[in-house]
């Protein structure tokens, strides 16, 4: 056996499956400090945010966040982001690690002409994600904020582990309830908070989680990963992110190209969910074929799904193969293995009566 994959960050701590299950059934904590933070401030900040991102930030209230994306004029992805509205003239983009430099340059360049100051705060924060059905109970022990009042995709500031004015957002990348906190990035503070979170979650079986579980969790929830489901050569409608793209808000970067896609009858390929129904695991990059063996697309992310206990994949296929129930084949080690198009997301968190 050779090549175990080249990751720089912990892929797993105690074991990927255990970590994944902790987040689905209890609580897990991720160090996601590699995420970037770009702040846009000034009287022109809303104008800049509206121009640069595809969702409608005018609908946000202070303290609210939204999933969005930055697009090239072609309607393809610079990156997906979470836009946080701090106040009328103050917004924060949380961006991906791998695209940080590119994103920052892009935002700076595109914000020119708006009365708005762009700053990269990525190195100032350690970002911890506390995720899972017991995340609220875990974090509640460490903060004075009443977390039950923070709705999904809202945020607030409060004292966490004795650190005042800590940003606490009810966001995540796991398909589960949870919080992301932004604390000063010095090592002593980061380590202290990490340890306090671990102690607070001990009674719920908290586990530290690595990039491996982060990937399988987001895949079960069918959340896009840059370089896989979204990229500079994939447009919004292909990626199925229509509901986060508000063409009606007025012109923005990528909007006219996307209108053109709609006018031409919509995208020709679509991102679909596949469940492998024969024995085999579909992996990133594997070929998707029709049942006659003709190549029709490729897998963007594929893995065993630890909670669902199925082999699942996200893949691009022509629109004629995108209907739920369509049978296709994934080429696994030179053999066609049957898969079927299933509804997305693969996993949806159970509704809680106590939470709105």
């Amino acid at each position: 056996m050779v090549d175990f994959g080249g990751w720089d960050m912990p892929v797993e701590y105690s074991g990927l499956i255990a970590e994944h299950m902790a987040v689905r059934t209890g609580v897990g904590v991720f160090d996601v400090s590699h995420m970037g933070d770009i702040q846009l401030r000034g009287p022109g900040s809303l104008g800049a945010v509206q121009h640069i991102s595809m969702n409608d930030a005018a609908r946000l209230q202070a303290g609210q966040a939204q999933y969005s994306a930055m697009l090239y004029p072609e309607g393809t992805f610079v990156d997906d982001i979470i836009v946080h509205k701090f106040s009328e003239n103050d917004y924060l983009f949380v961006i991906n690690a791998g695209t940080r430099e590119k994103d920052y340059e892009w935002v700076r360049a595109q914000a020119r002409g708006f009365d708005c100051h762009v700053s990269d705060y990525s190195d100032y924060y350690t970002q911890l994600a506390i995720q899972g059905p017991r995340a609220q109970e875990t974090l509640q022990k460490l903060t004075n904020v009443d977390l039950s009042k923070v709705k999904f995709y809202w945020f607030t500031w409060g004292t966490v582990c004795g650190l005042p004015n800590t940003l606490i957002a009810r966001t995540g990348y796991t398909g589960e309830d949870g919080f992301e906190i932004y604390i000063p990035s010095d090592e002593a503070t980061s380590e202290r908070v990490w340890n306090e979170v671990m102690a607070a979650g001990a009674e719920f079986g908290i586990l530290p989680c690595g990039l491996g579980a982060r990937n399988t969790l987001r895949l079960e929830a069918a959340l896009s990963l840059y370089g896989h489901e979204i990229s500079e050569s994939i447009n919004v409608f292909e990626a199925g992110l229509d509901r986060f793209c508000k063409l009606e808000k007025g012109a923005f970067l990528g909007s006219s190209a996307l209108q053109g896609v709609l006018d031409a009858g919509g995208p020709t390929r679509k991102l679909v969910g596949l469940e492998v129904v024969e024995r085999g695991i579909a992996r990133d990059g594997y070929r998707v074929m029709d049942l006659s063996g003709n190549a029709i697309g490729s897998v963007t992310s594929g893995s065993p799904a630890p909670f669902l206990k199925k082999n699942i994949a996200l893949a691009y296929v022509p629109r004629s193969f995108a209907e739920v129930g369509t049978e296709v084949a994934v080429e696994i080690r030179n053999s066609p293995v049957k898969a079927v198009v299933v509804p997305l997301p693969f996993y949806k968190k159970p509704k809680k009566a106590t939470q709105s």
């Binding site: 056996m1 175990f4 695991i281 893995s303 065993p304």
Partner: protein
């Protein structure tokens, strides 16, 4: 975990336990530890010819797929069917959870494989610990 001194090892992280012309093959503790939770094992078929250094199957963890390379040339006489339903047995004890048994074509091929001590040194060099 100690590497059994009576086994021989490949640089691709398989072990082989030889008894005359009969040999048993599995993957090492180092391999299972690097792979993580193993969820799938692709076994050869009884009667298959395997060739030293060539792929005879694969193991997959949640995060990765890895080919299995035959430590020696021979004919498959048995496969561990149990791994089809419980591949995690490799994680639990890699050095007893065998993958296949083969009849060796040329037992002298084994002499070129790593000893337990050599393999341990090799894994330490490879991982930089």
């Amino acid at each position: 975990m100690a590497y059994p001194a009576n086994y021989r090892y490949t640089r691709e992280h398989e072990w082989i336990d030889v008894n005359g012309k009969a040999a048993t093959v599995g993957i090492t503790e180092h391999a299972q530890d690097s792979l993580g939770d193993i969820v799938f094992v692709e076994l050869p078929k009884v009667g298959d010819k395997v060739e030293k250094g060539k792929v005879f199957g694969s193991v997959e963890s949640v995060k990765a797929v890895s080919d299995l390379y035959a430590p020696a040339t021979g004919t498959v006489t048995a496969i561990n069917e149990e791994l089809t339903t419980t591949p995690e047995k490799i994680n639990a004890d890699a050095h007893t959870a065998w993958i296949m048994k083969i009849e060796l074509s040329d037992p002298s091929e084994i002499d070129a494989l790593l000893t337990a001590a050599d393999y341990e040194t090799y894994t330490k060099e490879e991982t930089g610990h």
